[in-house]
């Protein structure tokens, strides 16, 4: 573990390094002192290039502070039941029913106010009420009962932008004596030890990473002693252990179950192993104890090349960033090589004490936290698989246009389709490459655009002869100073390289023309990952007019626009326009 001093130092170095990067502001509202949370959480986000700045509301002033917290990107709330009235944790057992009912009633009223005041914040993390501080009873204490009732109220009444953080899940990782700081609680109302803040930060950081499009997407396994006990080349295929009939095998069976479940949830599972290709194929196909099958594994690099080369190829073939990969291996050599050459890849070493492997792996799965879980996640792996078939089909054609002509591409446009909100928000959060402005939105914000008379949200779903890619492109159009502006234009990497963007844009121009407008504004905001679209507006024929910081603003005079779409793509409109504008 890093020492507290090292955390403080690293955090201050990272702050200098990030310098003027856009700030992600987090406000913490609390009725106890929690200032040590700041450095632990900031450093985790800053390690992922998020320039997080955490500030604190006034001590024990949650309700009033919730009124003036509207300018923050996120709010975290520590509302500790033991301090809603000073000394409640020992006084409550002598309170009569009337007093307790009154207390609950007051708290629920306050909670409702906080819900109302914070419902426009993109994300609010609200910790559960917990009586763990005094949980020494055989029977539920009054404090426990009140906490349970308030937690029920919380989950029944919270607005959608509130995410509940179950404190017990964090406590369970820490010995009781290291969670609470009794010394500072009695002197300064500082309830927790730094060990708690470390674990809390680990627990909530993936939520912010997911919202900001930095979530992990693929988990890549080595094979020998990582998916099974034993080495094919030394022990032979028959002697590999991965079933509960063997002490060590049981651990690997559990790992394979977890990996298979992950792949069903839409996490990409791949292999990167120094072995003979035929041997691994043989194990996958014919080893009776294998839980993971060919169908669960999206990509395989089984060869004698070095692992970093293979991982780079994996990222490029899957069309995802190298920082979206998690790599698991039992060899210290391989892990260190990857750490050194590809520091963006999260590496996990199979623990020497094998019984710790499932715990380590479950922790790793938290990195794949996905803030908006949409129906499509379940099919994502399936869709990536169809993509691989498409690649094979592609090799049969010399000319890319000939290839695309044979795909029978069909694009369907939906306008302000509220059934798509979760997916649209998720696309804004996750799409990095074909994304002209990289603005991240929550479901709430998307709904706001749909309801706003001055804006429209277009979502595009794409089909071809191999199957349905689902909703994979989004345009948000919004009227600013009486001119239509393309606030967002993004396409998932699944459909890049098919010229679909050209047809989509032709359609948009026609749509805007029909509203009797004669120009559109658009902009490009560079990020590390969206270089491929840096010239997109130039290609469309728009004119640069000025730069505002990093952002380049363009204008397109519609009467000079010539269509650029391809004849082999069919575009169809579905009318879902719920809000008549």
């Amino acid at each position: 573990m890093d020492t507290y001093t090292n955390i403080l130092k690293e955090n201050s170095d990272k702050q200098n390094f990030l310098g003027n990067a856009p700030i992600y502001s987090i406000r913490v509202l609390s009725n106890i002192t929690v200032n040590q949370l700041k450095d632990f959480l900031e450093v985790l986000l800053r390690r992922n290039k998020i320039n997080a700045h955490i500030t604190f509301g006034d001590y024990n002033n949650i309700v009033q502070n919730s009124l003036n917290s509207n300018d923050y990107h996120a709010v975290i709330i520590f509302w500790e039941i033991i301090n809603v009235i000073e000394g409640l944790h020992y006084r409550i057992d002598l309170m009569n029913k009337k007093e307790i009912d009154q207390l609950k009633k007051n708290l629920k009223e306050e909670l409702k106010l906080v819900f109302k005041n914070l419902k426009t914040i993109p994300i609010v993390l609200f910790n559960t009420f917990s009586s763990y501080f005094v949980c020494q009873h055989y029977f539920p204490s009054e404090l426990e009962k009140v906490s349970a009732e308030l937690n029920q109220f919380l989950s029944n009444n919270k607005p959608d932008n509130f995410t509940i953080i179950k404190l017990e899940n964090i406590f369970s990782d820490i010995p009781y004596s290291e969670i609470f700081n009794h010394r500072f609680f009695y002197s300064s109302k500082a309830l927790y030890n730094i060990k708690f803040y470390e674990q809390y930060s680990n627990f909530v950081a993936p939520i912010f990473l997911s919202i900001l499009g930095k979530t992990k997407k693929a988990i890549i396994f080595d094979c020998d002693n990582t998916l099974w006990k034993g080495i094919i080349g030394e022990d032979g295929i028959k002697n590999l252990k991965m079933s509960k009939n063997d002490k060590d095998g049981a651990i690997f069976e559990e790992i394979q179950y977890l990996a298979k479940y992950a792949s069903r949830k839409g996490i990409i599972v791949g292999l990167c192993s120094k072995n003979n290709h035929e041997d691994i194929d043989e194990v996958l196909k014919n080893h009776s104890d294998m839980v993971l099958k060919n169908d669960d594994i999206l990509i395989k690099k089984v060869n004698w090349k070095d692992k970093t080369t293979n991982l780079v190829e994996i990222a490029s073939e899957l069309n995802i960033g190298i920082d979206s990969l998690v790599f698991i291996d039992d060899s210290e050599f391989e892990i260190n090589l990857v750490k050194q050459q590809l520091p963006e890849v999260k590496t996990i070493m199979v623990p020497r004490k094998l019984y710790n492997y499932p715990i380590v792996f479950r922790k790793c799965l938290k990195l794949f936290y996905n803030h908006s879980v949409s129906e499509e996640d379940k099919y994502r792996s399936k869709m990536y698989k169809a993509e691989n078939e498409r690649s094979r089909f592609k090799q049969q054609f010399q000319n890319i246009d000939n290839y695309l002509k044979n795909l029978a591409l069909l694009v369907e446009v939906n306008i302000n389709d509220i059934t798509q909100i979760a997916r649209i928000a998720q696309l804004t959060q996750k799409t990095n490459q074909f994304n002209l402005t990289t603005r991240r939105y929550t479901e709430k914000q998307i709904l706001f655009f749909m309801e706003d008379i001055n804006s429209r949200v277009f979502s595009f779903s794409v089909n071809d002869k191999f199957g349905n890619y689902g909703t994979t492109a989004v345009i948000i159009l919004s009227k600013q100073n009486s001119v239509f502006t393309v606030d967002t234009f993004l396409m998932s990497c699944r459909i890049i390289g098919r010229n679909i963007e050209l047809n989509i844009f032709d359609w948009l121009v026609a749509y805007v023309k029909q509203l009797k407008e004669d120009e559109i504004y658009m902009s490009y905001i560079p990020t590390k990952k969206n270089l491929q679209v840096s010239n997109f507006w130039d290609q469309i024929g728009a004119q640069k007019i000025y730069k505002k910081g990093e952002e380049t603003i363009y204008i397109l005079k519609l009467k000079y626009f010539s269509t650029k779409g391809k004849g082999y793509i069919t575009l169809r409109e579905n009318y879902h326009e719920k809000y008549n504008k």
Binding site: T3, Y4, T5, S12, Q36, F184, S187
Partner: protein, 78 residues
């Protein structure tokens, strides 16, 4: 021994209180470091206790409000 304590304390104070190490001397105290408030004092205690593997008692917590005293108390405890 004393020198390593001095140096380590200065390192920690400079990081926690966000002041330059070379400006820390005998007379550096709560009264002349503006960032050294009660919250930072708590952070300083946590950092020092962790680094030296010690625990200050109640009286010491209040006493150690200047560099000189910090070094003195830590020398007693380790």
């Amino acid at each position: 021994m004393k020198n390593t304590i001095n140096d380590k304390v200065k390192d920690i104070m400079s990081i926690v209180l966000e002041i330059s190490k070379k400006n820390i001397g005998e007379d550096t105290s709560v009264s002349n470091v503006s960032a050294w408030d009660s919250l930072k004092h708590m952070n300083l205690i946590v950092a020092l206790e962790e680094a030296f593997e010690i625990e200050f008692d109640e009286d010491q917590l209040v006493e150690i409000n200047n560099y000189k005293k910090i070094v003195e108390v830590i020398s007693l405890l380790i």
